[in-house]
């Protein structure tokens, strides 16, 4: 058995594994065997979780004294049958959408991936409830139109008692004020990564500076996110305008700048630049925090020097996006969907998942929870933000400007292609 840590384990410190496995024995019975696989992650052994078929039905387990975990609801409901999830690529710990769900809940999961919210919407809309998916994971800003189009069904909160574990800061958002349809999966924000050596720039602290570097030191080596609102956000935030503006004058000014002055400096439109940063394709890239955190691992993986790179959160303002668990209209197995979502809201599972994807999963008192479960998590500042930073984050909206923004992005792309 090889002992060399797998890439994921660079993000998964030993302490967490030890603690998680021990706790899992207390708390989740059959799940323990599955978690042991996590501890063995990176090895070639055949130890799978199929040995433990036991499920813990609808009980809240006892917690050792002196642990913050006792403050959380730990209900695990069992279910049966198949559970189909449609989500973003590489967005859940493989155990949690695989063997562990099977051994703990008794559901066998199938996961399919989409690359954008638009892919999800077009598929659900044109399928009219025949897509066969139970759980979908849209971004908050897209919820109102999905609800209006009848693509999502209401959640039965009586089946999701662990909802009390979610930090109230991440419930009741504008897009779904009463959490009738959605529950926070995790949230994140936008900033940038740059290569200090190749650009010769030590600090990029605002969107305006980002734009300046992109047009000078990193011209032709810059990647921006491949979503129309984010490219627009860069300009609006640099100029002190809210990125959800619908004012024609703002949009015109944005178009003039981005198409005529900025487009030719863009190398790529890339929503997940981490792999390509490691390949050396960019020297400056707009990125979501979790992906940027992955980038440091990948750079090391590729034999590069992570210390050449730096990350900064967008300023003076930036976005807050939230991906949410929802149940699709026409879901074949809503019971299993509810059970799975509820299970995800137990602290251990939520933190295990967080440790994989690197985004804040919105558990209440997450700092304490993390201190107990993963005290030595790396790059925590890329997952958790200060209060001032959080206060500077603006929620997005899919509004009347969306079509115009897509139109402008197409012009930018045509221009950038020269």
């Amino acid at each position: 058995m090889t002992k060399r840590p797998a890439p994921i384990s660079i993000l998964a410190p030993e302490s967490f594994r030890a603690k998680l496995s021990r706790r899992a024995l207390f708390q989740m019975g059959g799940a323990a065997a599955g978690l042991a696989v996590l501890a063995a992650c990176g090895s070639d052994d055949e130890g799978d979780s199929s040995g433990s078929a036991g499920t813990t039905g609808g009980t809240s387990a006892s917690t050792p004294e002196g642990s913050v975990l006792g403050d959380y609801s730990n209900v695990v409901n069992s279910a049966s049958g198949n559970l189909a999830m449609y989500t973003w690529g590489d967005y859940n710990d493989p155990e949690i959408v695989g063997a562990l769900a099977e051994s703990t809940l008794g559901v066998s999961m199938k996961v399919d991936y989409y690359a954008s919210n638009e892919d999800l919407i077009v598929k659900l809309e044109a399928s009219q409830g025949t897509s066969g998916f139970d759980i979908v994971v849209p971004t908050g800003a897209y919820l109102p139109q999905m609800i209006q189009k009848g693509l999502l069904q209401k959640l039965d909160m009586s089946k999701i008692p662990n909802f009390v574990n979610v930090d109230p800061a991440y419930t009741s958002r504008d897009w779904d004020p009463n959490n009738e349809y959605s529950i926070c999966k995790n949230w994140g924000s936008t900033g940038w990564m740059w290569n200090k050596t190749l650009t010769g720039v030590d600090s990029i602290s605002t969107w305006q500076e980002f734009i300046d570097v992109a047009m000078n030191q990193a011209s032709g080596q810059t990647a921006v996110l491949d979503t129309a609102p984010n490219v627009a956000g860069m300009y609006f935030w640099a100029n002190g305008i809210n990125w959800t503006t619908e004012e024609a004058a703002d949009l015109d000014a944005y178009e003039a700048f981005i198409v005529d002055e900025f487009a030719q400096h863009i190398k790529a439109f890339d929503s997940y630049p981490s792999t390509k940063i490691a390949e050396g394709a960019y020297t400056l890239a707009m990125a979501w925090n979790g992906d940027a955190r992955q980038a440091f691992v990948r750079i090391a993986d590729a034999g590069g020097d992570p210390s050449e790179w730096a990350w900064a959160l967008g300023a003076p303002a930036t976005e807050i996006w939230m991906d949410t668990y929802c149940i699709a209209t026409g879901a074949p197995n809503p019971d299993a969907a509810h059970a799975w979502i509820n299970w995800l809201l137990t602290p251990e599972v939520s933190i295990k998942d967080l440790n994989y994807h690197g985004y804040n999963s919105g558990m209440k008192n997450i700092d304490t929870l993390l201190a107990e479960l993963i005290p030595d998590i790396v790059d925590a500042d890329m997952i958790f933000f200060s209060d001032e930073q959080v206060a500077s984050m603006q929620t997005g909206a899919v509004n009347s400007a969306q079509e115009r923004l897509v139109d402008i992005l197409n012009k930018v792309k045509a221009k950038a292609a020269g």
């Binding site: 890439p7 055949e46 690529g89 991936y113 989409y114 690359a115 598929k123 399928s127 490691a278 993986d301």
Partner: protein
């Protein structure tokens, strides 16, 4: 200079030998060029194989260390090895026993000899299907395993449809042209040029609509949708290939059969079908690869759990492609090559040359 004409087929000599006999600079240059082109074509494939043994967590980033861990991440070793062993044993039995009988008895029924391999292949396929829960049990990574499995089932079904309807239409176009030829060819051409995204959106909406009709609920099944969606382009290709194949042969044979009193269906079975068999095989092969690679239409029409391999890769391509995806590619590649070799053996028995297969494959 003009004297250096190489005979087109020197008996069984390698180019190298012949180069020694007749140093011809142009031929050497072409041989070098062809070698370079082949190298160019195989470089990415070699890289896919190499990176399936990558130790790191990303397919395209080489971590300077090899490991079989991503193979282990995709397959359960024990189940997979027993499946392979079962396959090999059955094939050895079915191919070896007739040979043995032939040697001992000094002869064997020609049909038994000819069909033993095919039968063994099918028996192995079915037996393993039963023993491994439809091949599901060999995959540790169920998502990727399902995608590979779905790819094969979808491509197989769609190819069957394509060969069936394309073959008939191709014969019709070549042998029974009429007023319908023009419009029909126009539709074929439109199928070839229509962007896949348009086909995909159109089909998805259409499936939903007709799926609500009584008795047509099976159009809600992802696999049925994939069969239909993938069969469009590939059947058009098969049609053109079969048509081209027959257009190159005059119809004297069919005429003679008819003059001798054969019914149309009999003439078709005994004369036309053998004539187009290589076109059907070539078209089927081409169709199979086209279906395996079909991405955009499949990503739109597939439903939960019926994602194919390219749909799986496309969904993840913007975030992370793990080395296990490369492992799957290598396995799919090996299995397609095995199927190809198998077809080649069957074809060799029916006496088609490589040039003929290539010719029919490209519709010339």
């Amino acid at each position: 200079m003009t004297a250096a004409i190489a005979p087109t087929s020197a008996p069984s000599s390698t180019p190298v030998q012949r180069l020694k006999q007749r140093p011809d600079p142009i031929r050497i240059a072409m041989a070098v060029w062809t070698t370079l082109v082949l190298l160019f074509m195989f470089i990415p494939i070699a890289l896919v194989v190499l990176h399936s043994f990558n130790k790191g967590g990303s397919f395209s980033i080489w971590s300077n260390a090899t490991s079989t861990k991503w193979w282990g991440e995709l397959f359960f070793a024990d189940e997979t090895w027993s499946l392979v062993v079962r396959f090999v044993v059955i094939m050895v039995l079915f191919l070896g026993v007739p040979k043995l009988v032939k040697r001992v008895n000094g002869g064997i029924n020609r049909h038994v000899e000819r069909w033993a391999g095919v039968t063994g292949f099918v028996v192995a396929l079915v037996l393993n299907w039963i023993l491994t829960n439809g091949y599901r049990d060999i995959f540790r990574n169920a998502g990727l395993g399902d995608a590979m499995r779905n790819s094969f089932i979808a491509a197989f079904g769609a190819t069957l449809i394509a060969v069936l309807i394309g073959g008939l239409a191709g014969v019709g176009l070549a042998r029974r042209p009429g007023w319908w030829t023009g419009p029909f060819m126009a539709v074929l051409f439109l199928i070839l040029v229509t962007p896949e995204i348009m086909d995909g959106i159109a089909l998805l909406g259409w499936f939903v609509r007709i799926g609500q009709l009584p008795g047509l609920g099976f159009f809600d099944e992802g696999m049925v949708r994939l069969w239909v969606g993938q069969s469009l382009y590939s059947s058009a290709v098969v049609t053109l290939i079969v048509r081209a194949r027959l257009a190159g042969l005059d119809d004297a044979l069919e005429e003679a059969a008819a003059d001798l009193g054969a019914t149309p269906s009999r003439a078709f079975r005994q004369i036309t079908l053998p004539l187009i068999s290589s076109a059907l095989v070539a078209g089927g092969l081409l169709s199979f690869t086209l279906c395996l690679d079909n991405t955009i239409i499949s990503s739109l029409v597939s439903t939960a759990g019926s994602s194919t391999y390219p749909v799986f890769v496309l969904g993840a391509i913007k975030s992370t492609i793990k080395p296990s995806v490369g492992v799957a590619a290598v396995v799919l590649f090996a299995m397609t090559i095995a199927a190809l070799a198998f077809v080649a053996v069957v074809l060799r028995r029916s006496g088609d040359s490589s040039s003929q297969i290539a010719a029919t494959m490209t519709g010339s």
